[in-house]
Every structure is written in structure tokens, then in C-alpha cells.
């Protein structure tokens, strides 16, 4: 599919993207650039991929019409339930897609980074399924705050390597995964988001596009029209937003809203909002927007949600921002917690803190009554239950 917002033949999205890697990774990246497109578009891949998604992951995920929220926001609100995927988030789509490519390229070891642990768990799961060796890099800070996911990865047979460099979160896990890849070029780096050198951002978006493909079909069945008025997704690196926006990018009638994690607020230093607070530069092999100082030193991100705690954004989104095709909003820790908790009590759905950022933006948009609004619940919040619990205790004591 040709699309002006997709990567061009040189690996760029407008002025963003590219492949800024040391020579040690040249062959690895070349191998992917040469092979990924034909493989992913092949009937062989598509058939197998869709079959695993259906029978193993449980796709398609429901598009749930939410009566209470529709009433509250005076519009039609749907939740795309990516939290119902096996392993608990959209990350499994990408893990399966790229593992099939790794198999095709005859790789025996998969390496991956993880923040919240969702991508790590998805990768470890698929590696068990496909008999691949699995090495996961996870920042020490994240290991502490998402420990159940560490246990899951370990029980699945993955080796979890704690990352102690930098501020010990997602960015540092990516650094360490890349360093390991330099030292073990025979392995396959299964990157979890639409970040990294070309072709990763486009490859991950292509694989995740199943989300918007399903939304189109589901809306058509219900309303006869494929196109919603709004699609709202949280954004860190961008894999869930990329998959959710993918098939709507070339239809301007669909408002695409990406919600960044503002942490304590975009005017504070404790934030992860790369579009709102960042500037143009290179992070993890691509030209994009990132949090950095005037010397180009990367500033550590902060967010309560480990999956969004990343100082950059996928290059595709840097371009979508500049071209004004996607509108970027932000939610703070507090807003996300409050709205996440609201969903738990209203619908019995425990959303991941990442997804709660998307929910928190609903208040900031004025919808029309006849609008169709799709909010992506990218993952489930079991992993965050301690944080919700703490928030609840604190707020109850405030009330007293």
C-alpha cells in the first residue's frame, strides 16, 4: 500500500527516520531492509500470521460500545479491547509477526527490550511457542515496579537481564539491547515499538496495522461505514497508535489523537511528552523528536506508566505531527490514574496505566452527538494493580 505518511524508499518519513547506526550493525540492518517488506506482504506470512492471531491470541479483539461513557460524553464511544489479547496487550501482534521473520531469516536467538514488561512477556511467550532462545533487557527501575511480568518472562524460559545504566528504564533497556546485538550479530533484535533505525518503525507499524484493519471491519458491520470520527490512542514509542491509525491515515475525515504521558506536567522536568517538550534529533538510530538538552544529551523521561516512560517518539509520528495529520494531547500521571480508576469502577475493565492516558483525554475533546469515537485500550492493568491500589488509598484518606 502506498501512503504519503509511510516510509519512503530511502527510509525516511519526510525529514524524520533514517538509519543512524554504527558500522557494526550495518549488515544486520541491511538484511532486514532487504527482506522484511517482501516477507511481510507474502501470502505465506499473512496466512500464518492471521492464523496464529486467531487461534493463539484470540483475535479479533472486540470493539465494545460503552453505553455509560457514551452518555457521559454525549457521543458514541467504543473501546477497542487490545487488553483482551493473549498476554494482555497489543504487543503480542508484533512479537508474532517479527518472530516469523526471525524464523524465516534462520535466527535462533531473539533479543528484546521491555519497559512495562508487556513486550517482554509477549516476546518470551512467542519464543516458547516457536522454540527460540529469548533474552530480555529490562531497566532495574522497571523490574522493581513490574515484578509480576518479570516472573512471567522467567517462567516462560526467557533470560531477563537487568539494566543498570542511565536511569534504568526503557531507553536504557533499548541501549543495552542494541549493545548486545552489536556483540551478538547472529541474533534477531525484536524491537517492541515503532522506533529504531529503518526498517523497524515501518515494519512494526505494518504488523500492528491489524488493529485498524479490524476496527474498519467491525464498524462496517455495526454501522455500514468503516470510518470513525475519532481514533484515540496513547503514545510512547508509538506501536499501538501506529496500528490503530494505520488504515485511517489517508482519510482526513478521521481525527487521529495521540496522547502523550506528561508525568507531573509538561512544564516540569518529570515528563515523557517528546512532542510537547522535545526537539529534533537522533535517538536509537532515527531522526525524531526527543527530550534533550542544548548539547544533545538525552534527558531521562518520566511517567508513572513504564510503557510510555521513553524520551523519544517513533519517526513516523514526528512527521505526522509536523504534517499536522495527528493531533497530540497529553495526560498527567494523576489524570491517567483517575480516569483509569474510573473505568475500573464503571465498566469492570482494568486498563493498563498506558491506556488510561488515552481515556484521560476524553474530557479535553468536544465531541458531537453523532460522532463515532474509538478509544484504544492497548493493554490490561493487572500489572498496575498496586499503583491503582496506592492511589485509591491515598485519595480515600484525602476524602476523610
Amino acid at each position: 500500500m502506498k501512503n504519503k505518511f509511510f516510509v519512503d524508499d530511502n527510509g525516511y518519513y519526510g525529514e524524520f527516520g533514517g538509519s543512524f547506526i554504527p558500522e557494526m550493525l550495518y549488515n544486520n540492518i541491511k538484511e532486514l531492509q532487504k527482506n522484511y517488506k517482501n516477507f511481510i506482504r507474502s501470502v505465506q506470512f499473512q496466512t500464518l500470521y492471521k492464523k496464529i492471531l486467531k487461534n493463539y491470541v484470540g483475535r479479533p479483539t472486540p470493539l465494545f460500545f460503552c453505553k455509560k461513557y457514551s452518555k457521559k460524553y454525549k457521543t458514541k464511544i467504543f473501546f477497542k479491547r487490545e487488553d483482551l489479547n493473549y498476554t494482555g496487550s497489543h504487543k503480542i501482534n508484533n512479537a508474532i509477526g517479527q518472530s516469523l521473520l526471525a524464523k524465516q531469516l534462520n535466527k535462533k536467538t531473539i533479543i528484546a527490550e521491555t519497559g512495562a514488561g508487556q513486550h517482554g512477556v509477549a516476546t518470551a511467550t512467542v519464543c516458547a511457542l516457536m522454540d527460540l532462545k529469548c533474552v530480555i533487557f529490562m531497566g532495574e527501575t522497571d523490574i522493581n515496579r513490574q515484578y509480576t511480568n518479570v516472573l512471567r518472562m522467567k517462567s516462560l524460559g526467557a533470560k531477563v537481564i537487568p539494566v543498570c545504566s542511565g536511569d534504568k528504564t526503557l531507553k536504557d533497556a533499548v541501549n543495552e539491547a542494541i549493545r548486545y546485538w552489536i556483540n551478538h550479530p547472529e541474533s534477531y533484535y525484536l524491537i517492541g515499538s515503532t522506533v529504531g533505525p529503518h526498517p523497524y518503525p515501518q515494519m512494526v507499524a505494518d504488523i500492528q496495522s491489524v488493529i485498524s484493519e479490524e476496527i474498519k471491519i467491525q464498524l462496517k458491520e455495526m454501522y455500514g461505514s468503516c470510518y470513525p470520527n475519532y481514533v484515540i490512542a496513547c503514545i510512547g514509542g508509538g506501536s499501538n497508535a501506529a496500528g490503530s491509525f494505520y488504515h485511517f491515515l489517508d482519510n482526513d475525515s478521521v481525527n487521529l489523537i495521540a496522547v502523550e504521558a506528561a508525568g507531573h506536567g509538561i512544564k516540569t522536568k518529570k515528563t515523557a511528552a517528546s512532542i510537547h517538550c522535545g526537539s529534533k534529533g537522533i535517538l536509537h538510530g532515527s531522526m525524531t523528536f526527543l527530550l534533550q538538552n542544548e548539547d544533545g544529551q538525552v534527558i531521562p523521561a518520566y511517567s508513572i506508566s513504564p510503557g510510555l516512560d521513553y524520551p523519544g517518539i517513533g519517526p513516523m509520528f514526528a512527521n505526522l505531527f509536523i504534517k499536522k495529520r495527528v493531533k497530540f494531547l497529553y495526560s498527567t500521571d494523576k489524570e491517567a490514574l483517575r480516569e483509569g480508576y474510573e473505568l475500573i469502577r464503571s465498566e469492570g475493565i482494568i486498563p493498563a496505566l498506558e491506556s488510561a492516558h488515552a481515556l484521560a483525554s476524553l474530557k479535553k475533546i468536544s465531541f458531537k452527538k453523532e460522532d463515532t469515537v474509538v478509544v484504544i485500550l492497548s493493554g490490561r492493568g493487572d500489572k498496575d494493580i498496586n499503583v491503582y491500589e496506592k492511589f485509591l488509598t491515598k485519595n480515600l484518606s484525602y476524602d476523610e
Binding site: E23, I182, Q292, D295, G296, Q297
Partner: protein, 257 residues
């Protein structure tokens, strides 16, 4: 004439290049280290600009980067430190950093500062060669700065030849596919066949071997296959912040007696 090209005209074997991180162990160590090194049998000095995310570096250089940044090192300060020595500088200085540092500082501004402070060349491992050719090559010529490219045991012959024509000053042979400072089997089969392959290729540019050189034995070995070697992590580890000059002298002596 560029000092690096000049050096290789005068001397084409047993070139010793020492890498260290600016601002480590102390913020004012940069000038002390350069001054000490250039009075020793050291032919080239590579100054690393500390970076928050040094992707190609192992733990030793990661750590020196971290401490240097904590010490408050930044680009303006680094350029002014090097500039201080400009008139006393006999040995060519190469600056090593990551592309984002050059980009964010402003490429022209960065290169101008290099020129003004007496820097002769740059190593930017994550700058794609095509981008260099299209965007920067003329600018480097204008400021008579060398841009040094790397090749690894995985680089195929045609690309090695291509990079050997683009690189200026010398071609950097990365001894193994690894990050810096990793203990590599320097005399391993893979290394030797890589060095032999390079030796047979029609490359007129001088070559220096780096990554894994840590003592006299590995340095001598690199001199058999190239015009010399580059030492980084092992030198940094030898630095004693309480007696910087002595520790440097002792280390260089252990390499070239």
C-alpha cells in the same frame, strides 16, 4: 595541510593512538591528559565527548562518560579546553562523538569550533556514510577536517574499499564485532582472517586497528597488520585521578618501551 595526513607522511608504522573521555576523571583532566600524552611516544590523541547514550561503547567508556557528564562537561567547555592548548599542540587531535551531539550543537557551529580549537579530525560512528557525502563532505573540506570511517570483520570487501576512499586520514579497523572494551580474542581466527583480508585489498589509506588492544602484546600484533593501533578502555582504566601524570606515563611505557 591536515595534521593527520601530515603524521602518516612522516611515519607509517607503529602509530599509537590513545583514546580518552574528556572531563574524566576530573573536569579539568582533559588538558592535563593531552599535555602529558603529547610529551610521550603517542602519535595521535582521540578525545571522546561524553554522551548520555553511547551505543557503541562498553561499560568502561559508559562509566567515564557518566562521570564526566556529572562533572559538568559540555561541548563549549570541551572546545575551550582544547583551544587552550592549540599553540602548544604537536600531536593531531581527533574528536569522537555521536551524531546527535554534532546535529544538536549545529553542524556548522560544531565544525567551526573544531577548526578554531585545533582539532584535526572527527569520528562519529553513527553518521551514515551517504549522509556524510551528501551533506557534510564539502564542509569538512572547507575546514580541512578529516572524517574517519570504521570497518568491521563483517564489512564486505566492496564496502571496505568504498569506505577506504571516503575516509580521510586513516581507516579505522574495528577488530571484532563488539562494543568497546570487550575482552576479545585478539589473536582469534576471525580477527586474523579479517586483517589478512584487509592487507590484500588495494587500500592506499593508512589503517589503524582498534577495539581490544590493551597491552604491549596486542599493540605489537596490531602493528603487524596495520599502521598502528588505538587504545581506549584499557588506558581509561589505568588513569589514577590522584596522580594522573604518573599513571599515564606508566601506562604508555608499558605499551611502547
Amino acid at each position: 595541510m591536515n595534521k593527520i595526513n601530515d603524521l602518516f607522511k612522516r611515519k607509517n608504522s607503529r602509530i599509537l593512538c590513545i583514546y580518552f573521555t574528556a572531563g574524566f576523571p576530573k573536569i579539568n583532566s582533559t588538558t592535563k591528559i593531552i599535555n602529558t600524552l603529547q610529551n610521550l611516544p603517542v602519535d595521535l590523541i582521540e578525545v571522546g565527548i561524553p554522551y548520555s547514550d553511547p551505543l557503541a561503547d562498553g561499560t568502561v567508556i559508559q562509566n567515564s562518560n557518566k562521570i564526566s557528564l556529572k562533572n559538568g562537561m559540555n561541548l563549549s567547555l570541551l572546545f575551550s579546553q582544547i583551544k587552550e592548548l592549540k599553540n602548544k599542540m604537536t600531536v593531531p587531535i581527533i574528536v569522537m562523538g555521536y551524531y546527535n551531539q554534532l546535529y544538536k550543537f549545529g553542524e556548522k557551529n560544531f565544525l567551526e569550533n573544531c577548526k578554531k580549537s585545533g582539532v584535526s579530525g572527527l569520528i562519529i560512528p553513527d553518521l551514515p556514510v551517504n549522509l556524510f557525502i551528501n551533506k557534510y563532505q564539502n564542509l569538512f573540506k572547507k575546514y580541512s577536517l578529516s572524517m574517519i570511517f570504521l570497518v568491521t570483520p563483517q564489512t564486505d570487501s566492496s564496502r571496505i574499499l568504498f569506505l577506504s576512499q571516503i575516509t580521510n586520514g586513516f581507516l579505522y579497523l574495528v577488530s571484532s564485532n563488539s562494543t568497546t572494551g570487550k575482552i576479545v580474542d585478539f589473536f582469534g581466527k576471525e580477527q586474523i582472517s579479517f586483517f589478512e583480508k584487509i592487507k590484500k585489498l588495494p587500500i592506499s589509506t593508512p589503517k589503524l586497528i582498534g577495539f581490544g588492544i590493551k597491552d604491549k602484546e596486542t599493540f605489537n600484533f596490531s602493528c603487524q597488520y596495520a599502521n598502528g593501533g588505538i587504545i581506549g578502555s584499557s588506558f581509561i582504566q589505568s588513569l589514577n585521578k590522584n596522580n594522573l601524570e604518573e599513571s599515564i606515563k606508566k601506562y604508555i611505557k608499558s605499551i611502547v618501551d
